[in-house]
Symmetry: C2
Subunit: 186 residues, 2 copies
């Protein structure tokens, strides 16, 4: 990135206000949210491919430096699922349904993934964050959002949703992705 202040004026293009809130807390900056009419995500299990497409779509629609993100939850027993498709699981069966679908499987391991990218019109810089953990045996906690009620990070005995905002943001897959991105673009 050529700019000396790459985070200034960057628009976080997402329909999810929870992600904007977390990004502001993690980065400690006042990040502006933008939404795209008619935007779509591509069908893929590959988070990097998905986020690269998102960055291109957002930049070409807005013609201003953009930040995009996608995250996913991979169940070890399911060999890649739900991954980046977890939003469809949430909106159909919900987190309770995912637990029920996992009942017949022994392995409750999982990892939380986040990929973020900045596109300034010249280049796309991508960064990833990942946290290993396990799927809880019930829906636990009322903090966070989405599937935070399901995911217990390794080395902890509480789900993301049972942690305070500061606790989650200190260890999360999203924090790791943003930290890696900050290392790359200053």
């Amino acid at each position: 990135m050529a700019s000396s202040a790459p985070w200034d004026g960057l628009k976080f293009v997402t329909g999810n206000a929870n992600k904007v809130r977390e990004a502001r807390e993690i980065l400690g900056i006042d990040l502006e949210q933008a939404t795209l009419e008619g935007a779509y995500e591509i069908q893929t299990a590959d988070l990097v491919e998905l986020v690269r497409h998102k960055a291109e779509q957002a930049y070409h629609a807005l013609r201003t430096p953009v930040l995009v993100e996608d995250s996913g939850l991979v169940f070890s027993a399911w060999n890649g699922l739900p991954g980046a498709l977890v939003k469809w699981f949430e909106s159909s069966v919900g987190c309770a349904g995912m637990l029920k679908m996992l009942e017949g499987f022994q392995d409750r391991g999982a990892f939380a993934q986040c990929c973020v990218a900045v596109h300034d019109g010249r280049e796309i810089v991508l960064a990833r964050g990942e946290v290993r953990g396990a799927i809880a045996r019930g829906l636990r906690g009322s903090g966070g959002f989405g599937w935070d009620v399901l995911f217990i990070p390794d080395g902890h005995d509480r789900t993301y949703a049972e942690m305070s905002v500061a606790e989650k943001n200190a260890i999360s897959h999203r924090m790791r992705a943003f930290a890696a991105l900050r290392e790359r673009i200053g």
Copy 2:
């Protein structure tokens, strides 16, 4: 469609040779297969939206009349899943995995959906076909492809994969979609 012979020279744009074979058998014509480099499907549970995007993408890449298709399998217990995302279930957990994920649920109802579209550069004509049925208690049969081993159409006691090619094609969701399309474009 303005053409008097709308099926002539139409290219079926798909990476799945099984679908081309079935379309040829159902329509009784010699349909040419074409594949697109760098094509992607959009993430949506809405088969019509997905197929409309596919038709636009295929026409704009090839600039020749195109036929596109997508199909899905909706489990009643899962409120929309896997739907058009079934290919990701197949490539991760497989059909055996889907059965295991369904174990905890009472309702084994399902429906098979197909949406087809023709785009000739001026308009997109879409048609749908749907078949209600149930999910088998094991993987049954060796015919067909994909999730045919799972799906027992209503009024039958065998899965698609236990039927002959002619039997399946006489009743399938894909046959119904093509029949509806043929009614619309002649």
